[in-house]
Amino acid sequence: MADSEATLTAHEPELKHHFDDSAQQLESSTLGMWVFLVTEVMFFGGMFGAYTVYRNLYRNAFASTSHFMNVIIGAVNTGVLICSSFTMVLAVRSAQLGQKKALVAFLILTLILGCVFLSLKYVEYHEKWVDHHIPGPGFQYADPRYFHQAQILFLLYFAMTGMHAIHMIVGAGLLTTLIVMAARDRFSATWHTPVEMIGLYWHFVDIVWIFLFPLLYLIGHTQ
């Protein structure tokens, strides 16, 4: 069990009545967030499963479609997310030290980086739209041998990156809430649980991308 120098007393509003002490409350929140992240692992896992099946079934089509993945945007986006994870962890650290200005600054940086990611994603999606690679009635594919298979693979591409992007958007919303709360002095060295929890969430979304990037953008080129 962790020791802390400053703990919440029963009078502080942040200690909810059904908890005995702040350590129990923080541990519960942390465990709760981890359980939620496990559900997210399984949620994305279903798509990773479908992707793995079709990549194995349609290796040639997969090699063909991989040429249309924008590795540069993908790589830059990976870098952007890694930076955002760094700024996020620094934000959490600032909260732990009670450094309000640094906290707000790092949260804003993280949000900006997240928006950069989403903007680049938009550019990428737009590129796909121009190429008629969005599955649906308008789908076209240069190599007629792989028309159907490519459409399935592109569906999985959009489903996986799209679901990831939705999680990023939710994360951006959560960050905005944190920024407002931090600016209003809601956090202190003794209580900054939402910052830590959303930090965990943000890192998780980064990890999903760490796997998406090689699987969708990098392998398959040389097959």
Binding site: L31, G32, V35, V38, F43, G46, A50, L155, L156, M163
Partner: protein
């Protein structure tokens, strides 16, 4: 023996029911007991909606040529399945009895995340509204299993609306499971070690693990199904290069463990009831506790037994078949332990115990027929026949619903502070038992004789057994209506219950009947 407090004037005493009045105090409550009641009422509504569809089906099956068109019948069995599985069976015991009792049983004041608990109910209601909207708009005809490519490409019904209902209700299930896991890990009173936890709590813990690990997969599966329905990219459509078996894999990855989500809480209730009415501690506590975990884990490794004839590889099928045999072992362990608990116990036959007896017998039959189905050589012949239907109704209705009713009766005095009429309750339990067997036993025979499931019309030689089954269904319906009536009556007008009418040993009985808001217990037992 637990100390009993006088029950004279509980009327004036503040409890969770009268602490606050008005719809706002109910719809914005964060108290686990009130949320349990919110769920209780909603779940009961869905039970009867699902039951109405069953009535329609059984009426149709009175004659070989049926009453309804094929399309209508398809919609009836689909909606029956969707409502019963996702909106009744999955939430039933955890959201009602679990919500009410788990904090009390571990000595906590509430669940770890009370507001998420309320959110969970709201999400459930939203999901239910989507599903009911699908019904009102004309229904869905894909079967509750939503198999592609029919659901993704060919069905002309409101698949996405129904799938959305299921998707949303899944999040309710996930949040409930998350809440229970954190609560049981972090909110136990000092001295309440894992090895002292009531088996009710162990069962709910195992259930929560499944909810958290399995439900997200059906969520993403339904998303992919929805995308396929909109875009026709071909992910599950063989004419477009897709594999419909992939849908089945992803669907059953959740839906098989889901049946353990449905039954484990029922087993948890039975453990409590059997121990109480045998006046004996449960035999083999550790075995029963760990068997819940074993079922939760093994339950994730067997889903391929739903795909034996779907085109799954022989090797995978053999592996899934073997592990399906293994998963029967922990269930059998429970049945043996309940029986051993009763042996040389002082057994009495109050209503909860009657339901427990019904559960043990009927669940055993259902479980054993599950083993037949796990045997590939048999499954080939009886798959997609009424044998399968009889199997899962034996475990779900003969098992789970009886456990639910038993639990409702057992904890009724705790929840309402009043006693139900024992005579009527015993009678209803008997009616349920007789009605159930009359409904579903003939279906084993029908399936064995080859009557396929999900058929609106059938060959004439199957009529006698079908008529028997429908007759049984009407008896069963009476059996379910009776508690609706007398329990509602007893809530308002029943005699006041003493604090512990059963002299049960659980911690939840040491609070006043109708516990306070927030929950407080006299922790004087240890």
């Amino acid at each position: 023996m637990s100390p009993t407090l006088p029950f004279a004037s509980t009327e004036a005493r503040t409890n969770y029911l009268n602490a606050d009045y008005g719809w706002k105090s109910w719809l914005f409550t964060t108290d686990h007991k009130r949320i349990a009641l919110l769920y209780l009422f909603s779940i009961t509504v869905f039970f009867f909606v699902g039951g109405l569809f069953a009535v329609g089906m059984r009426l149709n099956l009175l004659t070989p040529q049926g009453l309804f068109s094929h399309d209508t019948y398809n919609k009836l069995f689909t909606m029956h399945g969707i409502i019963m599985v996702f909106f009744f069976l999955v939430p039933s015991i955890p959201a009602t009895l679990g919500n009410f009792l788990v904090p009390m049983m571990i000595g906590a004041r509430d669940l770890a995340f009370p507001r998420i608990n309320l959110l969970s109910w709201y999400i459930y209601i939203v999901g239910g509204i989507f599903a009911l909207t699908a019904v009102v708009q004309g229904g869905v005809d894909t079967g509750w299993t939503f198999y592609a490519p029919f659901s993704s490409t060919y069905s002309n019904t409101h698949v996405i609306l129904a799938a959305l209902g299921v998707f949303v209700s899944g999040f309710s299930s996930i949040l409930t499971g998350l809440n229970f896991i954190v609560t049981i890990h972090k909110m136990r009173a000092p001295g309440m070690t894992w090895s002292r936890l009531p088996l009710f709590v162990w069962g709910h813990y195992a259930t929560s693990l499944i909810q958290v690990l399995g439900t997200p997969v059906i969520a993403i599966t339904l998303v992919l199904l929805g995308l396929e329905r909109l875009l026709h990219a071909g992910i599950f459509d063989p004419t477009l290069g897709g594999d419909p078996v992939l849908f089945q894999h992803l669907f059953w990855f959740y839906s098989h463990p889901a049946v353990y989500i449905m039954i484990l809480p029922g087993m948890a209730v039975i453990s409590e009831i059997v121990a109480c009415f045998s006046r004996k501690a449960i035999f083999g506590y550790s075995f029963v506790a760990f068997s819940s975990i074993a079922i939760a884990v093994l339950g994730f490794l067997v889903w391929g037994h739903h795909l034996f004839v779907a085109g799954q590889s022989m090797y995978a099928s053999m592996a899934f078949s073997f592990i399906s045999f293994l998963v029967a072992v922990p269930s059998a362990i429970k049945v043996f332990n309940w029986t051993a608990t009763m042996y040389k116990g002082s057994v009495s036959f109050e209503t909860p115990m009657l339901y427990a007896f019904g559960f043990i017998g009927l669940f055993t039959i259902g479980g054993l027929t599950g083993l037949f189905l796990a045997t590939m050589a048999i499954d080939v012949h009886v798959t997609d026949t009424y044998f399968v239907i009889a199997h899962f109704h034996y475990v779900m209705v003969g098992g789970m619903v009886m456990a639910y009713l038993g639990g409702i009766h057992f904890w009724f005095p705790k929840i309402t502070g009043r006693m139900y009429p024992e005579g009527w309750a015993k009678f209803a339990a008997l009616v349920v038992f007789v009605g159930f067997n009359l409904t579903f036993f003939p279906q084993f025979i029908l399936g064995y004789q080859g009557m396929p499931r999900r058929y609106a019309h059938y060959a004439p030689e199957f009529q006698v057994l079908n008529v028997m089954s429908t007759a049984g269904a009407s008896v069963l319906a009476v059996g379910y209506l009776l508690p609706m009536i007398y329990l509602t009556w007893a809530w308002r007008k029943g005699p006041r219950a003493p604090q512990n009418p059963w002299n049960a040993k659980g911690l939840e009985w040491s609070s006043h009947p109708r516990p306070r808001l927030p929950t407080t217990l006299n922790i004087n037992r240890w």
